[in-house]
Amino acid sequence: MFKANTLHDREQRTGWLFVAPALILLLIVFAYPIGRAFWLSLLTKNLGTNLKPVFTGVGNYSRMMGDGRFWQSLGNTAFFTAIAVTVELILGMGVALVLNQSFRGRGLARTIAILPWALPTALIGLSWTWIFNDQYGVFNDILMRLHLIEVPANWLGEPTLALLATIAADIWKTTSFVAILLLAGLQSIPQDLYEAHAMDGASPWQSFRQITLPLLMPQILIAVLFRFAQSFGVFDLIKVMTEGGPAGATEMVSLYIYATVMRYLDFGYGAALVVVTFLVLIVGVAIAALLLAKFRTRISGD
């Protein structure tokens, strides 16, 4: 005989029914492509050569070791991520502190401040390409009116300048995301902490160092975690602004992966690049998650 059909059993069955479609979709769109990349990376598979895929073990990975273009793109990505995330964190903190004050029109100011985050990155890339245009760009125009430069700079045409220009666009786009997260954290800090601290004669800067920063640490780490992952996979902005040029100066790992697959049709090597990027990301995320867990226990501990 079957087991009695208890309320609990029925509830569990409904529960799995509820979760199943979501899980299946996540498996197809997230787990399968990553798993598939691990397998493909062990093959030599190039749609351009019409040859049958051959198992070559770590062949793709040893090729990567000597691939200067891969190392350059990895270096570019690391530089881009480090600068962008650092500046976004500082600016985002500033914006959050301002938006946390009481002033008339605060709702409108907050609305305006989240606008950059909500707009499509590819279209924002177009806007910044126009701003940094070497001939008619408004950025050159402003710099020349302020007599900071004498001749227009070729922002997207010179390697170092192009990298800086794309970083600037990314900072504009995502500072608001950091600010939203930090603002939520600021709002949860009780005001009396500051009042007591001020009565003890602490300056605003001391309050910021001794109250705001420590209590905000979980939100800061979450913001860094998200931004690290997004920035490491930055694609839309660069694709639109420079396509990785000039001379590979702004080529990120993501653009190299895209070119390897879509232009050179080299699925095996592209998959190996995907795997390595994935592993770098996982390591970074693990470190941030560990730090986060440490801070959470410390705060709830005392």
Binding site: L25, P120, L123, I131, V138, A184, Q219, F235
Partner: protein, 289 residues
């Protein structure tokens, strides 16, 4: 829009100097956030001679809508807007339909292994799409889904699922349980309970999540670039990025500016009307998860 009520008693500014500093800081934030968008709007309304005028013209004496009529009449931008809307709306609805039941089960039904499911959902939100496009491209090719709206709708539904599950789950957890317990005693089964009791109270949370999902779907670039190559089926971000002149020397700055304004307009409206919901949803998805 209603002005924000101060959440805590307003401290009188200890000096007018502090008030001025705060005002300057607010102004700085607003200029920083708006300037690039305003410049693009201004460019889209300038006549061609003014666009290529040096030094730049900040207050043009004439305005024109010719760039808008060009992209709407001579280029199929109405089509692109339709494609973007269709894909974003359908995937958002699907995502809410699939994600909310999952979120409810994870909040209420004590499934074995729910911690693992939640951890997976959290980690998945961090994957950049470039890691997925190769595997998805193979699926699209194998199933002959290229140039089919499903090639975008399915991935967009999936990429918004983690956020939906996290936000909706935190909502269900805050929902008082008494209502559901009473309904259970009245003999509702779980499906009836969710459909008739829980769903009606869920509308605000669904709106919040739906807005975020719509924004992400509307903005997506890499899948739309890769899986859709037929001109008439492209979405706005891809189509705008691919506007080009007949030569490199005549890049149509005016139409590009008009296209970016048109493509960002729906999102600007969403932000204007739902600012608070967007902030709530984002922080619930990222912080509470």
């Amino acid at each position: 829009m209603t002005p924000d009520l101060p959440t805590r008693p307003v401290k009188p500014a200890s000096s007018s100097r502090q008030g001025i500093l705060l005002g300057l800081a607010v102004l700085l934030v607003i200029v920083f956030s708006l300037a690039p968008v305003l410049w693009q709007i201004l460019t889209s309304l300038k006549v061609n001679e003014d666009i290529s005028q040096l030094p730049n013209i900040y207050f043009p004496s004439r305005y024109t809508l010719e760039h808008y009529t060009e992209i709407l009449h001579r280029r199929p931008f109405v089509n692109y807007l339709f494609n973007s809307s269709l894909v974003a709306i359908v995937s958002t609805l699907l995502c809410l339909g699939i994600g909310s039941p999952a979120a409810y089960a994870l909040a209420r039904l004590h499934l074995p292994g729910e911690q693992i499911i939640l951890a997976v959902v959290l980690i998945v939100t961090l994957f950049p799409y470039i890691l997925l496009f190769l595997g998805l491209l193979e699926i699209v090719q194998a199933l002959h889904l290229a140039n089919n709206y499903l090639a975008l709708i399915i991935p967009y539904t999936a990429i918004n699922l983690p956020l939906t599950i996290l936000v909706m789950r935190s909502f269900f957890q805050q929902l008082p349980k008494d209502l559901e317990d009473a309904a259970k005693i009245d003999g509702y089964n779980t499906l009836q309970l969710v459909w008739q009791i829980v769903l009606p109270t869920t509308i605000p949370a669904l709106v919040t999540t739906g807005i975020l999902a719509f924004i992400f779907a509307w903005n997506e670039f890499i899948f739309a670039l890769t899986f859709i190559t037929r001109e008439s089926m492209k979405t706005i971000p891809v189509a705008a990025a691919q506007i080009g002149g007949s030569t490199v020397f005549e890049i149509p700055y005016g139409p590009i500016a008009a296209a970016t304004v048109l493509g960002t307009l729906p999102l600007v409206l969403l932000v204007l009307f739902f600012q608070r919901k967007i902030i709530q949803g984002l922080t619930a998805g990222a912080v509470k998860g």
